[in-house]
């Protein structure tokens, strides 16, 4: 959204007027954290563990004495997998509940629905999800893996294993569209050829014809950026046709919502992925985290990539509030931009001051018996895709999502 200055000013003025207490004067004894996630509806496989992770992080912080002596108070809304409810609850959080920070949003659509509201109302916003990259906005911090961190590592690895002819399947919305372009770019850079790119709306669940088309194209490798429950059918039907034994597959999304545990071992085995987190990471930080999760929720089977991202996002924000000694938006942003870093279950996460994205570890993995087996670990990767287009230190007023161009 191109921000209109006048609009922005009047909106802020009106808000300040409407709220008797200005935002900075959080004289109350609590710090207010707002959360908007799909904890029901078709995306709840992503949202529920994210919600649990957020609450776990808040509990820990409160148990350790809170932030600067104040307890964190959570205001959470369930957006029911309905994009329209994001704007509604987003505004409720900023205008009625007047929270100090908002963590949330899952699909890129939901992020774009609330980002303008957050910016307009000067509410600090954390989007803690793996995504297509390119968002450049001083008010938002993103700690999810971006294509340069993920695709750039995954594609050469997979092509090395499988071959040069790549067939791309992607979800038909901005995540899929942009990620597909990144995939094409890295395929070309590694001397391969993209034979076809097919996009599927999120409700497509019959892939019979696609599977026949893929065979007609006869690629060496499939790269799938498919999203949500309906698209899971593709992997089932692929395996049912016996294709999983014939053509290797890599995915930029499968496993983010623990899909490898929904698919059977026979269906999933061998699919290559690259993420920041795996339950199988055998590090003291991860083991401790899984133990805490199990204590809070029974068992740690539900933990997944973006739940951990959300957990790390809350920790990062908390760290910055402590460092700033305040919840004032500008002071917290300054603290975050100082190159702040935390140790999360998935390793070190450092805020990149230039892009407000994260520098983090990426693991190349393979599905094996409903687990994600780590094959290779790439330490502290920079979000170079966004860095190439976005520099918030030089242009703090930039506000757009860049798309890769060829």
């Amino acid at each position: 959204m191109t921000m209109n200055r006048r609009h922005f000013l009047t909106a802020t003025a009106a808000l300040a007027g409407a709220s008797l207490l200005p935002l900075s004067a959080s004289a109350a004894d609590t710090v207010k954290l707002g959360s908007v996630l799909d904890t029901s509806g078709i995306f709840d496989a992503y949202g529920k563990p994210m919600d649990m992770a957020m609450r776990l992080a808040v509990e820990e912080i409160n148990a350790a004495g809170g932030l600067n002596g104040k307890m964190i108070d959570v205001t959470a809304y369930d957006t029911q997998s309905d994009m329209a409810l994001y704007t509604q609850y987003g505004r409720q959080l900023t205008q009625q509940d007047e929270v100090d920070v908002v963590h949330g949003g899952i699909l890129s659509a939901s992020r774009e629905a609330i980002r303008p509201t957050m910016r307009k109302t000067n509410t600090l916003y954390f989007y803690n999800v793996l995504y297509e990259g390119g968002v450049c906005d001083r008010n938002i911090f993103i700690n999810g893996v971006t294509p340069a961190q993920q695709v750039e590592a995954l594609i050469p690895f997979a092509m090395n294993k499988a071959g040069k002819k790549v067939y791309v399947l992607a979800a038909d919305y901005n995540y899929g569209q942009i990620t597909a372009k990144w995939i094409q770019k890295y395929v070309a850079e590694n001397g391969g050829e993209t034979v076809a790119v097919d996009f599927f709306p999120l409700d497509v669940s019959d892939f019979g014809s696609t599977i026949a088309k893929i065979q007609a194209a006869d690629p060496d490798l499939i790269v799938a950026s498919l999203v949500g429950g309906a698209h899971l059918s593709f992997f089932r039907q692929w395996a049912a046709a016996g294709m999983n034994k014939k053509i290797p597959m890599a995915s930029t999304t499968l496993g983010v919502g623990n899909e490898h545990k929904v698919l059977t071992a026979e269906e999933g085995d061998g699919i290559m992925v690259a993420y920041n987190y795996s339950q199988e990471l055998d590090t003291p930080a991860n083991n401790a985290f899984k133990k805490k999760w199990a204590e809070a929720y029974g068992d740690a089977n539900g933990v997944h990539e973006i739940a951990v991202s959300n957990y790390q996002g809350v920790l990062t924000w908390a760290e910055a509030v402590k460092k700033a000694g305040s919840t004032d938006r500008d002071m917290v942003i300054e603290a975050l931009e100082s190159g702040l870093s935390i140790e999360g279950p998935a390793g070190t996460v450092t805020v990149d001051p230039k892009t407000h994205h994260a520098v983090l570890d990426v693991h190349i993995m393979e599905f094996d018996g409903q687990k994600m087996k780590v094959l290779e670990t790439l330490k502290q990767r920079q979000p170079i895709d966004t860095q190439a287009v976005c520099d918030l230190e030089a242009n703090p007023n930039d506000n757009q999502q860049y798309e890769i161009k060829f």
């Binding site: 709840d44 496989a45 497509v204 026949a212 065979q215 899971l232 089932r236 039907q237 016996g242 026979e266």
Partner: protein
Amino acid sequence: MDLAAVIVVETVYAVASLILISAGLAIVFGMMKVINLAHGEFMMMGGYATITAVNLGINIYIAMLVIAPIVVGLIGLLVERLVIRHLYGRLVDTMLATWGLSLFFVGIVTMIFGNTTTGISTPIPGISIGDYQINGYNFFIVIISILLVLLIYFVLKGTRLGLIARGTMQRSDMAAALGYSPDRIYMATFFVGSALSGLAGAVLAPLVGLVPSSGGAYIAKAFITVISGGPSVIAGLISSGGFFGVVNQFFTFAISPVVGEVALLVSAVILLRLLPQGVTGRFLKGKL
């Protein structure tokens, strides 16, 4: 050449699955002039019944072909007794009430099973056609659909029950004249229709990731197929299922799955504009 064979198989499969997902709705509509908008949810519950049974260690074929139809049929029976029977003869009201029921079932299943994608894998391995691998389960669905159509045909044509049913289809007071309580016949019909919906949902479950809202994907297609087919159950199902299946697959292969779906919908609008009583309202009149 192999690709052509694959396309033919996929098209036959598309037709068969349309017939399968529409059969339960068609019987209820043909016999009772009731449009059950909770049909998709009945299918979804058939899927869940199957998955639950399989997870309990029951053989997948028994789960699909026996348990799911019975469970969903019983749910249908309950629905008929509690809601539908108060609304006979009020077409629009039954549509609204069953729409309400569909929301209700989505909610209930969400509360019981959670809103996460579940599923089971297909029990049949892939089959090779020349250089192509094809989902072997497709053939299973085609066979089930053919058996289903034959079964409906013989029941309607060859049994006393079918005679009563056909009489009721033409004139609802016929059954009463023959000395059968229409109330009982409607009850039985709704049970059978629901059971078929459950069967369809069960048989399709291994192909899709199942969520409580899965029913929505089926109802529109089933609704269109049944209405476009018109008053005759079998002839209507086969003609409109055949037509839409071919249109859908043609555009799917030629362009993309989305265009295939849109082509199906557009052709439905055109078809209904040209034949406002459905295919069998105009042609094949009086056929089963």
